[in-house]
Amino acid sequence: MSASAVIAHPVFSIGLTVACYAGALELHRRWRWIPTIVVACLPIVVLLLLVHEPYAIYNRGGNFLTWWLGPATVALAVPMYRNGLALRSSLPRLALIVFIAATVGMLTAGGTAWLLGAPRTIILSAVPKSVTTPIAIEVCRQLGGIPQITIAMVIVAGVLGATFGPLLLGLVGVWENRAVGAAVGSASHGIGTASLVRRSEMQTTVSSWAMAACGVFTSLLGALLAFFIR
């Protein structure tokens, strides 16, 4: 059996991906600063380069995993519902705030790339960069961007918020728990939210809700935008 026949077999590429992910999780458990996604991808990239096989061959099996991003998006309703219950009284105002956040995020990301003369695909890939990966990918595809570029931007936006979010908010005098949660959830989705867990339960609750809501609003606005640019 040639190397390409093995790699092209979905069972092999799925197994390889799961193994690399499990290894990356273990490393992340031991050294917190190691980003799981980067460590999980590196061995796969190295292997493909070593055996001179194109990405498309690996991705025949990879597609089976990618498909599950759809059900994962659906599953986001659970934290949204659960945390929504805890926030009942402030939910209408929070929804308005997160809606504005989604609008600002899309306009500033696309706008900056456009002002700098980036090609159309880059501008469109940048638009959904604030929201959780599965939704960002769907919005990117709908607009005609490149999902990989969106993913890279989404991850960096998450890490920025997890590392500097509360600090930057403190610099402009925002300390209140719900305000910090809303801001970090809207700007840095799940990665930002996870970083709040050790700080405050209220921040985490608001952030989880804001991250899901920001995804929903961004995809509604994305559908509208797709209608106008197509």
Partner: protein
């Protein structure tokens, strides 16, 4: 195990319904339509949170695994990434700061301070 399989079956069925609606003219992506259907079903009590909690938890906890295959595709994009690095980084930074600060300041202005104790009680519900 049964609980997990039942939960996954429900989530997948909702996703497929969302996809079907999307294929039949609703302009919102199938996953997000599914999210909204699911949220509505839990609000109205059609679906119970405990039926799906474990399956949803599993999907959300290991979401990173699901976007590994797409991310590996970055290996083919060295060219466009290095050519557009400045635009991508600038757009990322400007937009990140804009969203974070606008939202934080807006929330401080619009959300009236709530005593910590009531927030604590609300947490107890979970």
């Amino acid at each position: 195990m049964f609980e997990l399989v039942r939960g996954l079956a429900i989530v997948v069925a909702i996703f497929l319904s969302g996809n079907w609606l999307h294929a039949h003219g609703v302009p919102i992506p199938g996953g997000v339509l599914g999210l909204l259907l699911f949220y509505g079903a839990m609000l109205t009590g059609v679906l119970k949170l405990r039926w799906v909690e474990r399956a949803a938890g599993l999907l959300l906890r290991h979401m990173v695994l699901l976007f590994v295959p797409l991310t590996v595709g970055l290996m083919d994009m060295g060219g466009i990434l290095s050519r557009q690095a400045f635009a991508i980084l600038a757009s990322l930074l400007v937009s990140f700061l804009a969203v974070l600060l606008t939202t934080g300041l807006l929330a401080r202005w619009l959300l009236h301070p709530e005593p910590e104790t009531s927030a604590g009680n609300a947490q107890g519900v979970q």
